[in-house]
């Protein structure tokens, strides 16, 4: 049985698509057949972050409306044979998605794949609620910043009330917190909410902390999921997050300011 994971946040620009791409690639690298779906109809971007934007022929909406079958719309990742991408439509609007249509596509995919990663759009409109509706697990992406934390809290409330699991009185969605763009330097200076503060307010299990890193922009510039940048702190932090999701117990890294030498401190670096 496939496991469906939604990557959500409420607020835009916090790293949902970056996380979806990295997480899906990470699962595929561990040998799991994985598909990642872009739910942001009208503003698709997952294809760009995955580097397959020129290979989109059919999309999620085509499949829902019966204009193509799911096999025709799936894009096979060129780097990893276990990974497939289902792009969103760029020209339709979110009303093209329906709860039955999405359910049918997920059911078809569940026969083929072990993990289905749903990249949610920002907001709490139809695309976002449908992305989470069928989820078994949720990754709530949060920046250590007031509006992001508040929106995440709102999203956590919606996850526990407006999902298939909630409506059918099943065991609730497993929710995990992923803090992104974390800057230990700024936390130390008292300019940024500390990890403990974010956790205290949202009280979710922490699945990872992704440090602020130039490698994230580099990765999106080139269409390579940042998890493939093994040298970078962000790539390593995403890899740890995938391990934790799969049940490994790893300590969190990149939480403390790296010590600079005296010269480094005096002259910057």
């Amino acid at each position: 049985m496939a496991r469906i994971i939604v990557v959500t946040s409420g607020k835009g620009g916090v790293g949902k698509t970056t996380t979806s791409a990295a997480f899906a690639m990470g699962l595929a690298e561990r040998g799991f057949k994985t598909v990642v779906i872009d739910f942001d109809v009208g503003l698709r971007n997952l294809d760009l972050i995955m580097g397959c934007e020129r290979r989109v022929v059919y999309d999620f909406v085509n499949v829902i409306q019966g204009e193509a079958n799911v096999g025709q719309a799936l894009i096979k990742d060129k780097r990893n044979p276990n990974l497939f991408i289902l792009p969103a439509s760029q020209t339709r609007d979110k009303d093209a998605l329906s709860i039955e249509g999405v359910g049918k596509v997920l059911e078809d995919l569940a026969r083929e794949f072990e993990f289905i990663v749903c990249d949610s759009p920002a907001g709490i409109e139809k695309g976002a609620t449908l992305a989470m509706y069928y989820a078994d697990d949720a990754i709530v992406v949060t920046n250590p910043e007031v509006s992001s934390v508040r929106d995440s809290d709102r999203m956590i409330g919606i996850l526990s009330s407006k999902s298939r699991r909630a409506e059918q009185n099943l065991e609730g969605i497993r929710e995990f917190l992923l803090v992104t763009r974390y800057s230990p330097e700024r936390v130390k200076r008292g300019e940024m909410l500390a990890l403990e503060d974010v956790q205290e307010i949202l009280s979710l299990e922490l699945i990872g902390v992704i440090p602020e890193s130039s490698s994230v922009l580099n990765a999106s510039n080139s269409g390579i999921p940042v998890i493939m940048d093994r040298e970078s702190s962000a790539g390593q932090a995403y890899s740890d997050m995938v391990s934790r999701y799969l049940g490994e117990d790893l300590p969190h890294r990149f939480l403390k300011v790296e010590k600079k030498g005296l010269l480094g401190r005096l002259f910057g670096g």
Binding site: V149, G157, G190, L193, D197, L266, F267, G268
Partner: protein
């Protein structure tokens, strides 16, 4: 410049503490605000009934819904005059 920053950073009072305090209040409020939409009307009606018998202030009745895991608790607080 880095030398200057090194001494300067000690003085800047962090805004993170303010952020945390504001968030705690806001999030608690947002969560309460999730209550059923009939609450204000319920509060109004209860006040009207009580006023048939006792003269009370507008803020004598408070109605709250709290969520604790799977259950909801409707809390009704009525302050009667001495």
């Amino acid at each position: 410049m880095a030398l200057l920053d090194y001494f300067r950073q000690r003085k800047t009072a962090g805004s993170a503490a303010i952020a945390k305090e504001r968030l705690q209040i806001l999030v608690a409020h947002d969560r309460r605000g999730d209550g059923p939409s009939y609450l204000p009307q319920l509060q109004h009606d209860i006040l009207k009934v009580i006023r048939k018998y006792v003269a009370v202030d507008n803020d004598a009745v408070s109605v709250n819904v709290e969520r604790d895991g799977g259950q909801e608790i409707l809390e009704l607080n009525i302050v009667l005059p001495d």
